[in-house]
């Protein structure tokens, strides 16, 4: 079958990418710094793609994604550091608890629209952050020291799983239901789609992967602090999604890669980095308000199905 075939092509490509990079790491062509940048890129892609499902696909304007990142980070850190359980389990727990948080946040807020939804999600993210700030068990403001266990392989595996799940979800009747909500909620409702249900589902899946990203994040940066998960972090994730092109999964991936590299590169330009960063944002938005990819996908450039309008990655 064509679809199955595509899946194996995707896997083959994934394995090739992995092998090349792993080779570069073992031969020490990539030093620790490059490897770290790769891990950060993987984490950021997971974040971008998980938010893409909520904003780009379902059209729900959530700007509090860092809250779920925080939940994942803290839960995974508790599992490994306090309970001394294995890291993969911690990652899973991070995803699950973040998904539960997504459910708790999503049910009341997703009935709100537009900017009201935006500010409510931002509010929830801040509440989550303040909760961690006030729990002494996780170190309060000073944060928690976490030993570094994230490595390139595990980040890559998580990234692949995220991509597969989200692409598969998007390219199914369920993903179409979400897109329908984005396009016209009243009509979607009239077509028999339980709009609340799908908004919450998209939100929960998005939160789950943000939680996974949080687990990787916590075990990559030695320390987690509530201050790292403020609304500016949420904006960073939002920026990946919008800059890449709302509704384009490959756009989100691409901009997560680009912006992470730009940001790492700008470390050397301490005083001017924020000026450059903000100028990039403004200029891209002014001259390409639809984002780098618009609503197109990378695969559109290779296939003849140019007019396929349902976005979110090709079928796997």
């Amino acid at each position: 079958m064509k679809m199955i075939n595509r899946f194996w092509k995707f896997m083959l490509l994934a394995i090739i990418i992995y092998t090349i990079i792993q080779l570069l790491i073992t031969t020490e062509v990539f030093n620790l710094f490059y490897t770290n940048t790769l891990i950060t890129i993987a984490i950021n892609i997971i974040l971008a793609v998980s938010l893409h499902l909520v904003i780009g696909i379902t059209g729900q304007f959530s700007i509090g994604h860092a809250g779920f990142l925080a939940v994942g980070a803290y839960i995974s850190a508790i599992v490994t550091m306090k309970l001394a359980l294995p890291f993969p389990l911690a990652l899973f727990a991070a995803g699950v608890i973040a998904a539960v948080a997504g459910l708790i946040v999503g049910i009341p807020t997703l009935r709100l629209r537009g900017d009201y939804l935006a500010i409510a999600t931002l509010g929830f993210a801040e509440i989550i952050r303040i909760i961690f700030l006030n729990i002494d068990y996780v170190g309060g403001a000073a944060g928690m020291v976490v030993s570094r266990t994230t490595n390139w392989t595990i980040s890559y595996i998580c990234l692949l799983i995220t991509l597969i799940v989200i692409i598969n979800f998007t390219n199914s009747r369920h993903g179409r239901a979400c897109v329908a909500i984005r396009e016209n909620e009243i009509a979607a409702d009239a077509m028999g789609i339980n709009t609340t249900y799908y908004k919450v589902v998209a939100f929960v899946i998005g939160s789950f992967f943000a939680g996974i990203a949080g687990g990787l994040y916590a075990h990559n940066f030695y320390i987690i602090q509530p201050a790292s998960f403020g609304f500016l972090k949420s904006f960073d994730i939002l920026i990946f999604v919008v800059l890449g092109g709302l509704g384009s999964l490959s756009g989100a991936v691409l901009s997560a890669i680009l912006l992470t590299i730009v940001s790492t590169f700008l470390q050397d330009y301490a005083e001017t980095r924020m000026i450059i960063y903000s100028l990039i944002l403004i200029l891209v938005m002014l001259y390409r308000p639809q984002g780098l990819m618009g609503t197109r996908e990378i695969t559109d450039f290779f296939t003849s199905r140019k007019k396929n309008a349902l976005k979110g990655g090709e079928n796997l």
Binding site: I55, F61, P108, T109, R111, L112, R113, G114, D115, Y116, A118, I119, A120, G123, F124, E126, I127, I130, I131, L133, N134, I186, F231, F235, L238, I239, V242, L243, L246, E271, T272, M274, I275, Y277, S278, L279, L281, I282, M285, L286, P289, Q290, G291
Partner: protein
């Protein structure tokens, strides 16, 4: 007595939020843009006032006016350069641009003068009044009056004056507004000018009241003012004021009960609760789309 005092504390805090929220809500009401740079215009207003008072030796009113003018010009410039092109693109693209503009103002400012805070000179004599055993400073009273007067003035402009009607027409449908003979660009510029001038005034008043200003000072009050605006029903002018007061009082009550660390969380919880029961804010009409 302690609680009367706390009530006054809450009102004073709330009127600052309200003052910033007025401009926020106004700009939002017309072009539906969450102008994240509003807080930074507020910051520039505060610094302009500071400069006017300490370097140009101006007194309060001229300094206030100068700050308002500078901010009005800044606001219009931002709109013309950064937002105008985006009028027909998605709201979210405009939002990202606004975030970009906000960061740009902050860091250009820091680049040229550093991030250190500045202490505001005292230009207004300060007295303390005793009401029911609670103390309230003349400055608090001043802020309260300024806020209420500006609110009434704005409400009048938007709902009664011709330019106000034009603003609301532009807000709803720019092409149809053009067909009425309205100059859309000018109307939006005027909106930004008024909104930004208000932010500038708020900046100066904030500086005088709290005495500390710094290049990142706009972020938190900007966010709080935005919450206040949403609480009241974003785009609705009296709503911004009521939202500001409500927020101020809630925060004060939470701090006064010894939970100061939960203060910001409480602000958001109130916001979310209100939105759950009134999805368009306290005064917001539930603008359900007619099917």
């Amino acid at each position: 007595m302690e609680w009367i005092q706390q009530f006054f504390n809450g009102i004073s805090l709330g009127s600052i939020y309200a003052l910033i929220a007025l401009g926020y809500t106004m700009v939002y009401g017309i072009i539906k843009l969450i102008n994240f740079a509003h807080g930074d215009v507020f910051m520039i207003g505060a610094f302009t006032g500071f400069f006017a008072i300490s370097v140009l030796n101006l007194s309060f009113l001229p300094a206030l006016l100068l700050a308002m003018i500078v901010c009005a010009i800044l606001g219009v410039t931002i709109e013309r350069i950064a937002y105008k092109r985006l009028r027909n693109s998605t709201r979210i693209a405009a939002l990202i641009t606004a975030i970009g503009v906000s960061l740009l103002i902050e860091y250009i400012f820091i680049y040229f003068r550093g991030a250190q805070p500045e202490a505001y000179p005292e230009v207004l004599a300060k007295e303390t009044y005793n009401i029911f055993g609670a103390k309230i400073s003349s400055q608090s009273v001043l802020i309260l009056c300024v806020t209420v007067i500006l609110m009434i003035l704005l409400q009048f402009i938007v709902h009664r004056s011709k330019i106000g009607k034009a603003m609301r027409a532009v807000a709803y449908d720019q092409d149809a507004a053009k067909l009425m003979g309205i100059n859309v660009d000018n109307t939006i510029s005027i909106t930004f000018a008024i909104g930004s001038a208000l932010a500038g005034a708020a900046g100066v008043i904030f500086g005088i009241y709290y005495t500390k200003i710094d290049p990142l000072m706009g972020i938190i009050p900007g966010l709080k003012a935005f919450i206040a605006a949403v609480l009241g029903g974003i785009g609705i002018i009296p709503g911004a004021m009521v939202g500001g007061f409500l927020l101020g009082i809630v925060e004060t009550v939470v701090s006064a009960s010894g939970f100061s660390l939960w203060r910001d969380a409480a602000a958001f919880i109130i916001l979310i609760l209100i939105l759950i029961f009134r999805p368009s804010g306290i005064f917001g009409k539930n603008a359900k789309e007619k099917v």
